[in-house]
Symmetry: C2
Subunit: 334 residues, 2 copies
């Protein structure tokens, strides 16, 4: 395989909020029949950040990744915050996470936020692999940390029961191994830009003018339109992506998709010719964790040895926008 930009994944970490919410609890809350949510949404349980901030969860995941990499925070040259939700409008997510390492507050490595909503981690990984080529950076931390708790409307069963919270951190480093990025592609099909939206909280519907109302300040999804749209573009995107590649989708050792929804994952399986063995599906136990979904699934796959040294891995996701991104890489920890 032709490696375009070498990198190793030196360390991975995650943080899951202490509180788990079962679908049964939500069914009781919303007066739904037992088993309704798992049957229709595909989620059995999800973590919920009740007291944990995005910054705290990001910090915890990064501490675990540093530990895994046998590094300390002063080995990091750049921190990329790759998330859609945030603790504050200003400052940005990455500086807040760096600042959580109070014991090393004199460090001055750069902090940047990337936001391509649910595919932010893929964009950030491509970006980090480019930064490594400059010779200015050796170890780059990418942290995705998401909390959807406040942005969901209990009256919208589909979204209220779909999302979960959590964070993941990945440290990528220069390497002399023949591993790293093979291919990256991202496309934005903005006809569907408002199929997934939080209408309130920005400049268009500002809290100064429009008082809080769960239907305006919560995440909304036009599920059917979205799915129809993705159905029309994803097969072409993937077929283009694998054109001229040495591997087919089914031959990839591990496919780490965004855990968008039950139907979304089913669509991906059908594009994988029904083959499920190489697809990570953790929707049942985590729900859709926005931008943290992909790195969380990647971190779990590395921890449980589903992705082995030298393995070929595909990250693939759809995001609000609608953006589709995918990244093919050869994994090394060395």
């Amino acid at each position: 395989m032709n490696i375009k930009r070498a990198f190793s994944i030196r360390g991975v970490g995650k943080y899951l909020p202490l509180t788990s919410v079962s679908s049964e609890e939500i069914e009781n809350e919303l007066d739904l029949p037992k088993g309704f949510i798992f049957k229709n949404i595909g989620v059995e349980t999800r973590h919920k950040a009740m007291g944990e901030s995005n910054t705290f969860m990001g910090e915890q995941a990064l501490r675990e990744a540093l530990n895994d990499a046998n590094m300390t925070i002063d080995n990091i040259d750049c921190l990329i915050g790759a998330s859609a939700t945030f603790d504050y409008v200003i400052p940005n997510r990455s500086t807040l996470i760096k600042n959580a390492f109070k014991e090393d507050n004199d460090l001055d490595f750069t902090c940047i936020d990337i936001n391509s909503v649910c595919t932010s981690f893929i964009t950030a990984l491509d970006y980090a692999s480019l930064l490594l080529t400059t010779g200015e950076y050796k170890n780059i931390a990418i942290v995705s940390s998401e909390s959807s708790l406040k942005g969901l409307n209990p009256e919208d069963i589909e979204t209220y029961s779909l999302f979960g919270d959590g964070s993941a951190a990945v440290i990528i480093s220069t390497t002399d191994q023949p591993a790293g990025l093979i291919k990256y592609k991202s496309k934005s099909y903005t006809k569907g830009v408002k199929y997934t939206i939080i209408e309130g909280g920005g400049n268009v519907n500002h809290m100064k003018d429009v008082p809080y109302d769960p239907s305006l300040y919560s995440f909304k999804m036009q599920g059917k339109k979205l799915l129809k749209n993705v159905k029309s573009i994803l097969p072409i995107f993937l077929s283009d992506f694998f054109k001229k590649q040495e591997v087919t989708m089914q031959e990839v050792n591990l496919i780490v998709p965004h855990q968008a929804s039950k139907l979304g994952l089913r669509m991906l399986i059908s594009l994988n010719k029904g083959y499920t063995e190489n697809i990570v599906d953790q929707l049942e136990n985590h729900g859709n964790c926005i931008a943290a979904s992909i790195p969380l699934a990647l971190v779990n796959s590395i921890k449980n040895n589903s992705l082995k040294e030298g393995g070929i891995c595909l990250l693939i996701g759809t995001a609000a926008g609608i953006t589709i991104s995918s990244l093919l890489f050869k994994y090394t920890k060395l």
Copy 2:
């Protein structure tokens, strides 16, 4: 000069909101003595987006830049939204701007948001120069569009009178000219992470829990602490940046600083040994336009021929975080 990554600036554009607000009007509103704001804050007039959304302003600036480059939107391979304020929490800024080009809604180039607050444009320009090296992109649009109107507290005179709104777009392209990025550096000194903050509106103080209150949902700045901090780090940052460079700061043809504040610009002049001729100062007529300040000053300088073909230009800014970024480049339009 050693060019690290070639690029040309093929087109530039801007949009300024139709409404201008003079300092005299604000002085009348806040019952301040005539001349107080210009004397203390350095701003005489600023544009204010009264009906214009961030997306609309970004679209207008990009249309002007495309026109300047003699291009249409289908020449663009990637759009980077580089701003701190936004129309919606989800989707991201860049997909909304792309979608404003309804007439070309079938285009599928990628859209990404970069956020390093006030220095987002500098980060985005470095990022775009890296993307060009991959051979996958020929023309990348960077759009910064900011509206501070809703996020300011009239009781906080310093910030209420300092900020202005507007947008700027820059199209950078591959080139065979010996021009482009000479050096980029960014550092985040997060001890001061909360010196500039909007406390409300994210997950920590969510509108679900905390009703709108101008003191919580507006931009706050601990001006003295911030300035003291920047005073201690900026001289070292700049002296390091120019070490081993063929030019000194005074020899740079044009310095485009973030229009942070009167005192911030004064500090930069003193670091430039009192030499003001090569420093763009448009605080008086625009105020601090957050991430749009730097590209707006750059666009104006290219339009009025202050930056000429072959000229050496320094972008420099401080941002909430506290992040300091600077980028030295050789300008070509070819």
